[in-house]
């Protein structure tokens, strides 16, 4: 990528890598939660629903702060992860991925729920009479039919992860090459005297990235709809 500077290329690839990890981390949980919240009736469902949506209404800095408390070196989960698996989250790209995953999680779940609510449960009943057990029905009928929602969720979450700022900078700080993603790099450039030109370039990169993401998602959605025979 000869037209990008080393710093820009670094921020871009880091952003993509953090967003990809973030999506990969949250995807299975998001599908599970979308299913539980749509299909199960249990005590505390409303509470769980509200909890999942919390990052949408909280200031990202608060989320970053809570993550510090829980996953910091002395936090209950952070110290356990470090001792048991040697995983360091604080000041690392893994931590950045976790922060963006938490922030984009409700967006992902929402998109999937809308799609799951539109899946005809009669088709699942039909599969059931044909001998399909619960897991079989989910993987062969429900999941393929909610694929448009899964795809929409993945794309929305990926875009949100690329742009996440507050939670990332609070939780894992702004370390070049490790946690300085595109928005953090842009912010840094703006804080640097004479960094206007660099900031503009980073902004253009962000715009191009977002635009291609939208086009790509349209193309995917079209393919999936054809696959589902609509």
């Amino acid at each position: 990528m000869m037209w990008l500077s080393a710093n820009e290329a670094e921020a871009l690839s880091l952003s993509l890598s953090v967003a990809a990890r973030s999506v990969a981390l949250s995807l299975p949980f998001a599908i599970l939660l979308a299913w539980v919240l749509t299909r199960r009736r249990f005590i505390g469902r409303t509470l769980l629903d509200a909890f999942v949506h919390l990052p949408l209404v909280l200031p990202p800095v608060v989320v970053g702060y809570l993550l510090l408390l829980l996953f910091g070196t002395r936090g209950p989960i952070g110290s356990w992860l470090a001792q048991a698996f040697g995983i360091e989250l604080i000041f690392t790209r893994h931590g950045a991925a976790l922060a963006t995953a938490v922030m984009s999680f409700p967006l992902m779940v929402r998109a999937m729920r809308i799609s799951l609510e539109n899946v005809d449960r009669g088709l699942e009943d039909a599969a059931r009479t044909l001998g399909a057990g619960a897991l079989d029905r989910f993987t062969t009928i429900t999941l393929p039919l909610m694929l448009p929602g899964v795809l929409a969720g993945v794309i929305t979450a990926f875009s949100a992860a690329l742009g996440e700022f507050g939670a990332v900078i609070t939780f894992v700080s702004n370390i070049p090459g490790e946690t300085r993603t595109l928005p953090l790099a842009l912010y840094t450039a703006l804080q640097t005297p004479g960094g206007d030109h660099a900031a503009a370039r980073l902004a253009i990169i962000s715009i191009v990235l977002g635009f291609s993401g939208l086009l790509l998602s349209e193309w995917f959605a079209h393919r999936v709809r054809r696959l589902l025979g609509r």
Partner: protein
């Protein structure tokens, strides 16, 4: 033997159903819309929980007293839904294979046989949204068959189709009944369909099973009469083909101790033909009629006279072990002094053939070629094979 007993409260609606009928055969669950027919077959399928018992021969599928409740996926019940419910993300072949792969029993209905019986060959690579309504139902029937079911449930499979599409599917259901001997429960509020397909009829009214029995008996049931309306009331008789009448080319069908002549391709003696004699199409005479154009005349004895809607009575006539029904005015009842025990002649103005070869053990020898159609003007009242309506 298919044994069903189910109790279930759903809001203000209460299901309280019970029937027991021999297998194989086609049981029609008949009743007005909203009487609980679909609820009941969902209980049989296991898709709806209810208290009671469902047993097919030796297999107990549900017995809440013994804590037996086999989940739907292990009941081996094929279910054809009203709206087909084909999987939109598979093509036709994919839908069929889905069932085949999950069949919980050794195949007694092979993939090739299903494609052959239901004429699915040309549809295999089609997407489900490219199918017509009739084709969708054929695929749904095929898919249910490939799960190797011991019982088929059909929930108004033709209700969402228009009349001509219905005729695209009905013959296939007849083939199923005659060639596969899988017990079937057929939900319908269309009496014509029931007459085409069913062996037994279970009548339902507001959640309860109120009467059950063979089609011939049930065609005279007052509850059934109330639903189908006075003009559709009439005896349904499963007659036996006696042979072909050489002079007219018509098929001679023995009903009770009498004989009817009908136009049918089936002429092999011993085959079964189902004939419907509408009550309004019978004329009752107390003396032997002479010099009439009507050729189908049955002799019998009046067994009952019951008031019907309007200024009419229904006269039940035993024609030698089989009961038929005629509709006459009150005035005629009085003048002819129609009472139980009176010998009468029943003149059949018209009749309709309801099933080509009902429950027939097909004769080993192929049927003789179809009889030539007699000129309409001189033909005695007769019927054509379905789907033609009642002939006059």
């Amino acid at each position: 033997m298919l044994e069903v007993a189910a109790k279930k409260h759903l809001g203000a609606f209460t299901l309280d159903a019970k029937f027991e009928l021999p297998t194989p055969g086609v049981v029609a669950l008949f009743g007005r819309s909203g009487c609980g027919k679909s609820t009941l077959i969902n209980v049989i399928a296991g898709l709806l929980k209810a208290a009671g018992r469902v047993a097919l021969d030796d297999a107990v599928l549900l017995d809440t007293e013994q804590n037996i409740d086999i989940p739907p996926q292990h009941r081996r019940i094929g279910y054809v839904f009203q709206e087909a419910r084909l999987f939109p993300h598979f093509n036709v072949a994919g839908n069929l294979r889905y069932a085949e792969r999950r069949a919980g029993a050794p195949a007694f209905v092979s993939f090739d046989l299903v494609i052959d019986l239901l004429d699915l060959g040309a549809l295999m690579s089609r997407r489900t949204h490219q199918l017509s309504g009739g084709e969708r139902q054929r695929v749904a029937i095929g898919r249910a068959l490939l799960s190797q079911p011991r019982l088929m449930l059909l929930d108004e499979p033709l209700a969402s189709l228009d009349a001509s599409r219905r005729e695209e599917v009905l013959p296939y259901l007849e083939i199923l009944r005659d060639q596969l001997a899988i017990p079937m429960v057929y939900v319908s509020h269309n009496f014509d369909e029931v007459l085409r397909l069913a062996t037994y009829l279970v009548l339902m009214e507001s959640g309860k099973t109120v009467a059950q029995g063979g089609i011939a008996d049930m065609s005279l049931n007052s509850g059934v009469r109330a639903i189908i309306g006075a003009d559709a009331v009439g005896a349904v008789v499963d007659g036996t083909v006696l042979g072909m009448d050489p002079s007219s080319g018509l098929t001679r069908v023995g009903v009770g101790s009498g004989e009817l002549k009908v136009l049918s391709e089936t002429t092999a003696p011993g085959s079964k033909l189902r004939v419907q004699l509408l009550a309004r199409d019978l004329i009752v005479a107390t003396r032997a009629p002479q010099q009439l154009s009507v050729r189908n005349i049955l002799t019998g004895v009046v067994t009952a006279v019951t008031g019907d809607e309007g200024e009419a009575d229904l006269i039940a006539i035993d024609i030698g072990g089989t009961t038929i029904m005629a509709r006459v005015t009150h005035a005629a009842t009085r003048e002819l002094k129609l009472t139980a025990g009176l010998p009468v002649w029943a003149l059949v103005k018209s009749l309709s053939l309801r099933s080509r070869s009902f429950e027939a053990a097909r004769p080993a020898a192929p049927d003789p070629p179809a009889a030539p159609t007699p000129p309409a003007a001189t033909a005695p009242p007769a019927a054509t094979a379905p789907p033609a309506p009642t002939t006059r």
